[in-house]
Every structure is written in C-alpha cells, then in structure tokens.
C-alpha cells in the first residue's frame, strides 16, 4: 500500500513539476488591462444616461472619403477612412461624400508598416484591448499590415501589439494624438465621424 502511494506521489510530482513553471506576461499586458479599465470607467460614468448601443440601432454604413492613404516609410501607422455609402438595407447604394448621419458607423482602415514584424494585432477601446480579437493581415505587395474595421462615431483609443523576433511590444501611432497612462504607456486616439 505504501509502495503504491509512493508511486502515486512520484507520478504526480513528475507531472506537476513541469506544470509549475512560471508563465510571464508580455510587456503590453498591463497597458492593455489599464486601457480597458479606463474604457470601463468611462462607460460606467456615461451609463447614468443610458442609450441604445450603437450596434443595435439601424444604421447607415458610411465610408466617408478620406485623405489618401498616407503611407510613410519605415515605421509608419495611418488610419484612413474610405468612402462609400451603404444604404440601410445593406446594399451598395451610391458613392458620395455625404456627411455622416448620427447613427453611422465608419469603416476605418488601420495600417502598420514594419518589415521585421511577424504579426501585428490591433487593440483598442473597440475590442476591449484583447489580443485575440483583431489581427492585421500582411499585405506582401505593399509590405504593410492592414485591417479595416467598422467603428461608431466618437473617440477611440488604440495601439498596436507587434510580435517580432524579440517578443511583443506595444506601439502607439506616431501620427495620431496620444494619451499616456500612469506607467508612461502611450496609446493613440482616432476620432470618427468628427466626434471627439
């Protein structure tokens, strides 16, 4: 009986010991949590005047014409609006530079250029700063990482999590306005639909 118990203990130790190895967070984790916390705090403050969530309302999808995709060299990140209007029945209706209606969502394109990146992830207030939600696709022809996502009008904070041979790092958009948290981590701001 004692031998059996000893064997069990030995087996458990062989299994459990490697599992006790420390798992460390990447350097962006605290920044992501803190950004999500700020968003939660703002949401809580504004909940005093509840209104229907933007994604529940009927809406016009508007790709307002934006300035051309300004692609700077090296490490350059740009946020660019597109330009088209989709009618309420989701059919492509026309292409026009019509001012956005209040319940409009905008398709915003995020572009990141870094030849050494192995993966680029967009995190922001719009996806709760989670890494699993929004990965950029690599556009080999232009050597950039890009994604277009629908955003409601308003002010959105965002940053890029860049994976390369040295691990993961947090990168704010050098061409956008920024906010800085207690730990000195900077995120960028995009204002959609002329709202801040």
């Amino acid at each position: 009986m004692s031998d059996a118990n000893d064997r069990d203990d030995l087996f458990i130790e062989r299994v459990a010991k490697p599992l006790r190895a420390t798992e460390r967070a990447d350097e962006t984790f605290v920044a992501r949590v803190l950004s999500a916390v700020h968003a939660a705090a703002r949401e809580s403050e504004s909940s005093a005047a509840p209104r229907q969530s933007w994604w529940r309302r009927r809406r016009t999808l508007s790709f307002s014409p934006a300035a051309a995709l300004a692609m700077a060299a090296a490490l350059v990140i740009t946020v660019v609006g597109l330009s088209m209007i989709v009618a309420r029945d989701d059919r492509l209706a026309s292409v026009a530079a019509t001012p956005a209606k209040p319940d409009t969502v905008h398709l915003v394109r995020f572009v990141f250029a870094d030849s050494s990146a192995r993966a680029v992830i967009l995190v922001g207030t719009f996806n709760s700063w989670t890494k699993g939600a929004t990965s950029l696709s690599h556009d080999a022809a232009h050597g950039v990482w890009a994604i277009s996502i629908a955003l409601p009008p308003g002010r959105h904070e965002y940053a890029f999590v860049v994976r390369d041979s040295s691990g993961e790092r947090w990168v704010a958009d050098p061409f956008a306005a920024r906010v800085r948290d207690e730990f000195g981590t900077e995120s960028s701001i995009v204002s959609v639909g002329g709202r801040t």
Partner: protein
C-alpha cells in the same frame, strides 16, 4: 505607489485614481497567468481570459469586502473567467484535440517515452484532455498547491467532490502518459 499595500491601492482606485489599478495587475499577473495557461492550454487564450478577469475585477472592486485579501478575491474571478472562457471556446471549437496525432502517441507511449521525463508540452496536451472539472481540481491541488479547504472556498465544490476529481484526474493522466503495467 508600487509599495502601497493592496488595500491602500484599492482605496485609491475607488477614490478615482484608476491608473493605480495597474499596480495590482502588475503585482498578481504572473501568479494567475500560470493557472490560466494550464487550464486553457494556450498562452494567448490565457492572456485574453486574464485581461477580461482583471477588467471584471475592476468593475466589481467595490464588492471586494476585504481589500487586504484582494489576491484571493481576484483569483476567484480568474477561476470563473477561465471556466467561462473554456466553455465558450469548447462550444466554438468542439475541442479538436482528438485529431491531433501527437495525442494518439500519448495514449500509448513508446518505451522510449516511458523512460524519460515528459516535456511540458506533452503534459499540457494530456491535461487538455481531462474533463474541465478534473483539470481545474488537479491544477489547483498539484500545480497551485492549494489545500482542499482553499479549493472548496475558491470553487464552491465540496471537499470530497474535489478529492474525487483530483483522483480521477490523476488516473486519467496516468492512462494518457504511462503504459498500463500488465501483471
């Protein structure tokens, strides 16, 4: 600020200085990350679940009645978030592990495998195949090294049920990792 006790940081956060919550995150992230990674079997999923848990903790901070015991209170949120995350993912993916050829190898390991120590990857893969309750109980008991009383408080399950889960987990892991002796 980093030297402040948990209760002092929580008081400051509840007073409106949300940035200080980052110190609590920094203080405990590694402790919870190991648990989340073992339960979810993926560093990326663990990262997402932990982030959601910390935000949930922030939203519920006023309900933390004993701020000096923030670590245990927060761990309970992490455990719950991992359960939710795991269930959501299982529904989405229906766990594809059975199609992994390496798992078949684990089910009947070669004599060479028997004689050497298992790699973390092999053990994690076997752990992934346990039932969720058994996996959670095994990790809490033998990885996080909690007492059964602590586990009961954390999970809401009874001590005898937890002991049974751990026992079954060990048996299943043995099946997966070791060749059954023919006597």
């Amino acid at each position: 600020m980093a030297d402040l006790a948990d209760a002092e940081l929580i008081a400051a956060v509840l007073g409106g200085n949300n940035d200080l919550y980052g110190h609590l995150v920094r203080r405990y992230q590694d402790a919870y990350r190991r648990f989340a990674t073992r339960i979810l079997g993926s560093a990326d999923d663990a990262d997402d679940a932990l982030q959601l848990a910390f935000v949930r903790g922030f939203r519920a901070l006023r309900q933390c009645r004993e701020p000096a015991r923030f670590a245990g209170w927060m761990f309970q949120i992490v455990v719950n978030e991992c359960r939710t995350f795991s269930a959501r993912r299982a529904r989405r993916e229906r766990r594809l592990v059975r199609e992994d050829p390496k798992l078949e190898a684990l089910a009947s390991p070669s004599p060479e495998t028997q004689s050497s120590e298992w790699e973390l990857e092999d053990i994690q893969r076997a752990l992934d195949r346990l039932e969720a309750e058994q996996r959670e109980a095994f990790v809490l008991k033998h990885v996080e090294e909690l007492s059964y009383e602590e586990m009961a408080q954390l999970t809401g399950a009874g001590v005898s049920a937890l002991k049974m889960r751990v026992k079954r987990a060990c048996e299943r892991l043995r099946e997966l990792l070791e060749k059954v002796p023919h006597e």
